[in-house]
């Protein structure tokens, strides 16, 4: 061994890509940049901006921005999150986990509403509106009166009912000792197994066309053989059934689809593409395309040129239903007006969307919608 210990040590250090000294990469973050991105509010209130909001303002802001999913009273529509109620339900068979019944910290409400809500239009609520919504949610959970105003100063004095309902993971004490025992390998049962639950009886799994669970692996042999495995004797007739399905490779699915797309390619493709992007603001509530169904809002296949409020099985607000009943049509003019200012066009509409202020965005989304037809 001719190498000195120092050289060996140096070689070892080189082999491990550990950074001992800073590399001088990156640049200092500017205060404005940190302020823009770091809006986090900690459980002790650190990070709360100056501001305030009262319950009644919060009720209005909530109705405008949140109620289309969470309900006017924060009760949750369809399967959207329930935000109020559920007190004392945490040991029930169906617990209702709300801000009042489950959430430990009010800071989480402010923090989440301010940077992640409304769904599909995040980071559009002002500081005061966020305080107001938070105040309204306290009110809807019966935690404050309707004359309450939430401020940065009184924020930390509000404790949520379930503040002490959480404890740190204790599996290392409560579970690991129980489950770290050498398991039984033979004669482990006292009686033969008996089926107690069958998923097939619930019938909630997505299915392929043949009724099997979606994604079931196709047979590796031809249909004629699959039939044979069930009952056929070795001397099965040689003729294959005429209706035997053709092999997957022969199915000409792609050309047919392409032809259909070409038939409909009337709108400016660039505009349609831009519209597809704009439509993301709408997609949380509205569906288009194959298998589009009504959601929070109606499915929009074929909406351009169609009578207002005419999607089947959708419960429209009164103003839109009235417009439809009086012969209103969704043409370019009415769509522009509605999309620019939904509540101005139809006061009382359920569509909780502030509107598309840029005409080019409206043009694009209308072009995009015009590419979807009803079946």
């Amino acid at each position: 061994m001719s190498k000195s210990p120092e050289i060996l040590l140096a070689a070892l250090l080189l082999a491990t890509p550990a950074v001992a000294e800073p590399l001088g990469l990156g640049r200092p973050a500017l205060p404005e940049e940190i302020a823009a991105w770091d809006t986090t509010v900690l459980p002790d209130g650190t990070g709360l901006p100056e501001g305030s909001g009262d319950v009644l303002t919060g009720e209005e802001v909530f109705a405008e921005n949140c109620a289309s999913c969470h309900g006017e009273f924060a009760e949750g529509l369809d399967s959207w999150p329930v935000l109020a109620g559920g007190n004392g339900s945490l040991t029930d068979p169906r617990p209702v986990k709300t801000i009042g019944s489950y959430w430990p910290h009010l800071s989480t409400v402010y923090d989440y509403v301010h940077r992640s809500m409304p769904f599909g239009q995040a980071q559009t609520l002002s500081v005061d509106d966020t305080y107001a919504i938070t105040a309204f949610l306290l009110y809807s959970n019966g935690l404050v009166e309707d004359d309450f105003t939430l401020t940065r100063e009184n924020f930390a004095s509000i404790a949520l009912p379930n503040a002490t309902g959480f404890y740190a993971d204790d599996r290392d004490q409560t579970e690991y000792p129980v489950f770290s025992v050498e398991p039984c390998m033979a004669d482990c049962r006292s009686a033969p197994p008996e089926v107690t639950k069958r998923a097939v009886e619930l019938n909630v799994t997505p299915k392929d066309e043949d009724g099997k669970p979606a994604g079931t692996l196709p047979p590796l042999t031809l249909a004629a053989e699959t039939g044979a495995t069930e009952a056929a004797p070795a001397e099965a007739p040689a003729e294959a059934p005429a209706e035997a399905p053709s092999e997957p490779a022969e199915a000409p699915a792609e050309p047919a689809e392409a032809a259909e797309t070409e038939d409909h390619a009337a709108a400016d493709p660039a505009l349609v593409e831009a519209g597809e992007k704009v439509f993301r603001k709408c997609a949380a509530c509205h569906k288009v395309g194959d298998e589009a169904k009504n959601g929070v809002g109606p499915a929009l296949n074929g909406v351009v040129g169609k009578a207002i409020a005419s999607a089947s099985d959708f419960k429209y607000s009164k103003p839109l239903a009235d417009l439809g009943a009086s012969g209103g049509i969704w043409d370019a003019a009415s769509l522009h007006a509605f999309l620019q200012d939904p509540k101005g066009f139809a006061k009382g509409t359920k569509m909780a969307f502030a509107g598309l202020k840029k005409p080019e965005d409206r043009d694009a989304v209308i072009a995009y919608l015009s590419t979807f037809f009803e079946d």
């Binding site: 890509p17 550990a18 950074v19 590399l23 990469l25 990156g26 200092p28 973050a29 940190i34 991105w37 770091d38 986090t40 459980p43 945490l90 989480t108 923090d111 940077r115 992640s116 599909g120 980071q123 309902g165 959480f166 404890y167 993971d169 204790d170 599996r171 489950f179 770290s180 050498e182 390998m185 004669d187 482990c188 197994p193 089926v195 107690t196 069958r198 097939v200 619930l202 909630v204 799994t205 997505p206 669970p213 979606a214 994604g215 079931t216 692996l217 196709p218 042999t221 004629a224 053989e225 495995t229 056929a232 070795a234 099965a236 040689a238 035997a244 997957p248 949380a284 959601g295 929070v296």
Partner: protein, 419 residues
């Protein structure tokens, strides 16, 4: 091909199939020569696709069923939803990115490397902003890790519900990541002594954020930008995501934009209202980050029935543990009365998917097949019932109970629970 050879081909196959229908496997015997062999097939005579026919290749059309699948009734909006990896159709341990499950809270965003910025702030000496190019100048590491949603198996708490391991255990993938260690980025900014927690946040509209204790952040957490040798896919956080080996998928923040050091946990929505485990006494466990040892038989399973009849049968599946390496996987074919160790095929890596195989002779009668993982800490995967006895049925998350498949005599497979 003309119709004629096809007919004789079917006749040949019908002849061989009967052998498999008996209780005891016998060697297949051909009654007529197989035209696939005796006749010159089209593919053996003319050109196939030229190079560049698909500059970036997709699986051949015969594999079109091997895709991620959504269960529509689970969520109100596909922008905040999950789909499932087709683990019943995959082999080995590495999950192709294109069929690895997706979980978005506000959709998969389009963020370019040029527009990418990563901020480190909070209790650090120097708050910093990195570009994507900056990240490429830190020393790189490679790590293979499974990413499992904490809710994987969550629909099965109350009982067998979905037909297929894609749906019951498919909120998981396993990739080889290349990136830089979070500890190196933190060292660049300098963590102050009072810093105890690292909060990580995404750039998408949900700005999903989670608190990670500093100890874990300095251990094996990676800021990754390659997966399986290529750039991350958009749906997995292109251009940069966090890799938190062994810990629940929600912490693997995608489109990572901010790392902030605090003296306390942020207690964000995703670590209070969600991803906490409600216990029977009405209190809830929080900070249940680690994913305990788990396994599932991927074949046979409801979406992968046995079609070849009695005789030699390969049972295979996946095992994993957030606490280290898998050391053993036991198989039972009689509903848990007797167990036999399966083969661990290939290397068992810490906090990564491990493949097992069990080669047996099936007598054609019904079976209740189960797998049971053991990890290097000695932890043995429990039954679902054993978990329920501690946690009740409203836990939602971290269901690592043993899966039972009921193999019927006709080879069809059901998701069941047994007593």
């Amino acid at each position: 091909m003309t119709d004629e050879p096809k007919t004789s081909r079917r006749a040949f196959l019908a002849g061989t199939a009967a052998a498999g229908a008996g209780l005891v496997a016998t060697a297949a015997t051909a009654q007529t020569p197989d035209p696939l062999i005796t006749e010159v097939q089209e593919w053996a005579s003319v050109f196939g696709d030229p190079v560049d026919a698909t500059p970036y290749g997709m699986p051949i059309e015969f594999e079109s069923h091997v895709v991620r699948r959504n269960v529509e009734w689970l969520t109100e909006s596909t922008a905040s939803s999950i789909n499932f990896t087709p683990i019943h159709a995959l082999e080995g341990t590495i999950t192709p990115q294109g069929c690895a499950f997706e979980r978005h809270h506000s959709g998969a965003i389009t963020l370019s490397k040029q527009d990418y910025r990563l901020m480190i702030n909070g209790l650090v000496d120097k708050p910093l902003v990195f570009t994507f190019e900056d990240l490429l100048r830190f020393p790189r590491q490679i790590s293979i890790a499974f990413c499992e949603c904490a809710a994987n198996g969550g629909m099965e708490w109350g009982g067998a519900q979905l037909e297929g391991c894609q749906f019951t255990q498919g909120m998981i993938h396993n990739m080889e990541y290349t990136g830089v260690m979070l500890r190196d980025l933190l060292a660049e900014a300098g963590v102050k002594p009072e810093g105890k927690w690292v909060y990580v946040e995404g750039a998408d509209a949900s700005s999903n954020g989670r608190s990670i204790p500093l100890e874990k952040a300095l251990d094996d957490v990676m800021v990754a930008f390659f997966a399986n040798g290529e750039a991350l896919r958009k749906e997995h956080g292109y251009p940069v995501r966090l890799v938190v080996p062994g810990w629940e998928g929600n912490m693997w923040v995608k489109w990572l934009r901010r790392i902030s050091v605090y003296d306390q946990a942020v207690e964000s929505r995703e670590e209070t209202s969600k991803y906490t485990d409600l216990m029977p006494d009405g209190r809830a466990r929080k900070w249940t980050w680690v994913l305990d040892a788990k396994s599932v038989i991927t074949q046979p399973s409801p979406q992968a029935p046995i079609r070849h009849g009695a005789g030699p049968l390969v049972i295979t599946g996946l095992a994993w543990s957030g606490n280290g390496k898998i050391t053993r996987v036991d198989i039972s074919t009689d509903g848990g009365n007797s167990w036999t160790p399966a083969r661990i095929t290939g290397e068992a890596r810490s906090k990564a998917l491990t493949r097992f195989h069990y080669d047996m002779t099936w007598d054609g009668s019904e079976m209740f097949i189960m797998s049971r993982a053991v990890d290097e800490t000695g932890y043995v995967q429990p039954t679902k019932q054993a978990l329920r006895e501690i946690r009740g049925v409203n836990n939602v998350y971290h269901n690592n109970g043993i899966q039972v498949w009921w193999v019927r005599a006709d080879g069809e497979v059901e998701n069941v629970e047994i007593a």
